[in-house]
């Protein structure tokens, strides 16, 4: 599939998954892949973690957007922007924009938002999603990638609009919730990509999350991203002693055992991963994008580029969009 067609599926892509599966890394990789295709991409983080910023060599992100990567695509096109959206900042901006500057400070300061959020749960989520919706409508970027909260919370996060429509029947929050619902259920505007590791529990939880999101939120699911697959290596089944003879090399003491141990470990893990990938395709009829495990120390910006390239390769291998 052509990457531009892939990234044109919906302007907002929400990246979700259980903790520890590499959601943030995948968000960064997709952003780089889109920028390499010449697009202007905005990454949004909502949990106050600094993972996304670190991957681009920044200490943290602020409410205002900053450019973290420029000229990634052909002839200098393509850009990755990033920002953090917190409920309080989103509310403040909303009130100011809607002529309620005077009450905004009173509401946001002194923890009143906490009380209000308890009175109407989901209000914080809707404030964040409302801001994302505004950005999506604004059209200043080609693609928005939202690094969603971890799995269990991702469902409540995306369900917040529906829940609030019942609790808050009038006023600006009601309007926001309505607009957010409209965006989430419009597959031209929004889709969710779920991330998993090729391991048993994460695969099970991804399948559950996928069905919950479809049933309870009505959001469109994009391809599933399987992260952390060991890249293939040939010759793992060759006996090191035989391989050494063939190569005309004499192994030092202990080397054969070390080589054999590492080769067997890789083969065993690859077999386990293959099983889980197969199980996932069986249980969830969605296309899969595979991203490699990187044998490195810490993920650097270079690694994010490598993963971006891997994502582009994986996208190229996808079939055309089903009509």
């Amino acid at each position: 599939m052509d990457p531009l067609a892939f990234f044109a599926t919906s302007r907002l892509v929400i990246v979700a998954g259980k903790g520890g599966v590499g959601k943030t890394t995948v968000t960064a990789a997709l952003a780089v892949a889109a920028a390499k295709s010449g697009l202007r991409v905005l990454m949004v983080e909502v949990e106050g973690k600094s993972g996304l910023a670190h991957l681009f060599g920044r200490p943290s992100l602020g409410y205002d957007e900053t450019s973290v990567l420029e000229g990634a695509g052909a002839s200098g096109s393509g850009e990755v922007l990033a920002r953090a959206i917190t409920p309080a900042a989103a509310l403040l901006e909303y009130l100011v924009d809607h002529g309620m500057r005077r009450i905004s400070n009173r509401l946001v300061r002194g923890g009143a938002l906490d009380v209000v959020a308890t009175a109407a749960p989901g209000i914080e989520d809707i404030l964040v999603l409302g801001k994302v919706k505004q950005l999506e409508r604004g059209g200043a970027v080609d693609l928005i990638l939202l690094d969603a909260p971890a799995a269990g919370h991702a469902i409540t996060f995306l369900e917040s609009a529906r829940g609030l429509l019942d609790a808050v029947t009038v006023g600006p929050i009601n309007t926001q919730a309505r607009d957010v619902m409209e965006m989430l259920t419009d597959e031209e505007r929004c889709s969710v990509v779920l991330v998993t590791l090729p391991e048993e529990t994460p695969v099970n939880e991804l399948v559950d999350t996928a069905y919950s999101l479809e049933d309870r939120v009505g959001v469109k699911l994009g391809p599933v991203i399987v992260n952390g697959l060991y890249p293939p290596r040939t010759g793992m089944d060759v006996d090191p002693v035989v391989a050494a003879e063939v190569a005309g090399v004499v192994l030092m003491q202990g080397e054969a055992e070390a080589l054999r141990g590492a080769a067997e470990f890789r083969a065993a893990r690859v077999a386990l991963q293959d099983d889980q990938v197969a199980r996932l395709s069986q249980r969830l009829p969605l296309p899969q994008l595979h991203l490699p495990f990187l044998f490195t120390t810490d993920l650097s910006t270079n690694d994010v580029h490598a993963l971006g390239d891997a994502a582009l390769d994986a996208i190229a291998g996808l079939g055309p969009v089903p009509t």
Binding site: G19, V170, G261
Partner: protein, 357 residues
């Protein structure tokens, strides 16, 4: 101090760490080992994977412990925390009469708090822990803490509701008098109007009804919250950090250790799950060079593969260096990648074998 002695001597073990590091399974393995040591143990799980829940017999979500039979000298019990029921029980315990409890249960604002107020799950986990500890039915209570984004929410949790009760809005609403419009001053009315404008009047009505129904119960809540905090900081409680060797999770675990230290609490043990095994000399660069000179042969591939794992193992140790120094003299236990996820007691025993070797 070893992990073994932590399990043998503490009366509470709190397993803390971020999501995806195997905390739930570790907590269950710790409780199982306690039972093997002859202690009466209960493990409080938050959200176990389905097959582990089946193995522990907590699928029914009863919120009270169920016993797991086995050939150990002690006892092993497990329960899955039901936040809502635990909160209801707490209300019942503090209510003046059943009428007051019923009024609170029926309130929409209360249902929101007991269900969704961030930190409620942590608070109720601590409440359950306290309750189980008080009963004296168990020698050891093992708690799998929620994988909260703010790692120490659970320590703060019992205070959270009481802080909420201290909030200005609450005090305004609780000013004696029937209708809030009459009772509160002009500024307060303006504030309430503001909130109404944003979220609608119903929400405010619900909140007022809740605070009125809650009247008289705060003292009980506050006192209990203080006792829970006291128990958490007493020497009979052990905090066990669970991590994986990835750079980001080690960072979270280090932050966690720092926050505990701020509270005057030290880490009793560090468990690192999902370690890559070590092969060979560990000199990844030399091995990589060797692979390069042999490129194109099977032996070259084998050396390249070895270099991959040597690099990963070295970087994992590198990530852990600061953290192990940080928690010193706490024991550090490394658990390798396991072949499959844990589905039964046999699997838990396999983990325990790594934890307590």
């Amino acid at each position: 101090m070893t992990l073994e002695s932590v399990v043998a001597e503490s009366s509470i073990v709190l397993c803390c760490g971020t999501g995806g590091v195997g905390k739930t399974t570790t907590a269950a393995a710790v409780a199982l080992h306690g039972a093997r040591l002859g202690r009466r143990c209960v493990v409080v799980t938050i959200d176990p994977a389905k097959r582990l829940a089946d193995a522990l017999g907590v699928e029914g979500l009863t919120n009270s412990p169920s016993q797991i039979d086995g050939d150990w000298p002690g006892e092993l019990w497990a329960l899955m925390l039901d936040t809502k029921t635990t909160f209801d029980e707490l209300v019942a315990r503090n209510a003046a009469d059943t009428g007051q409890a019923q009024r609170i249960y029926g309130n929409r604002f209360y249902r929101n708090i007991s269900d969704r107020l961030s930190g409620t799950q942590e608070y109720m986990a601590m409440e359950k822990l306290y309750e189980l500890h008080e009963q004296s039915r168990f020698d050891l209570v093992v708690v799998d803490t929620p994988p909260t984004r703010n790692a120490l929410d659970f320590l703060d949790a019992p205070r959270r509701l009481t802080r909420f009760l201290d909030h200005r809005l609450y005090r305004l609403l609780m000013t004696p008098g029937r209708a809030y419009v009459k009772a509160v001053n002009v500024a307060a009315q303006a504030f309430l109007r503001t909130v109404s404008r944003v979220v609608g009047g119903d929400v405010i009505e619900d909140a007022i009804a809740f605070f009125q129904a809650f009247e008289g119960m705060e003292v009980g809540f506050r006192q209990r919250a203080e006792r829970v905090l006291e128990l958490l900081s007493s020497p009979e409680t052990a905090f066990v950090l669970v991590a994986s060797p990835r750079g980001d999770t080690v960072g979270e675990a280090t932050y966690f250790a720092d926050r505990l230290a701020e509270g005057g609490i030290s880490v009793a043990a560090l468990i690192v799950n999902r370690m890559h095994p070590r092969f060979g000399s560990g000199l990844a660069e030399a091995t990589r060079e060797r692979a390069r000179t042999l490129a194109g042969t099977d032996l070259g591939e084998l050396f390249a593969n070895l270099a991959d794992f040597e690099l990963v193992a070295a970087s994992e140790e590198d990530h852990l260096k600061g953290l192990t120094a940080r928690v010193d003299p706490a024991p550090v236990v490394r658990v390798p990648f396991l072949e499959s996820d844990v589905h039964d007691l046999e699997g838990l025993d396999a983990i325990a074998a790594h934890l307590f070797r």
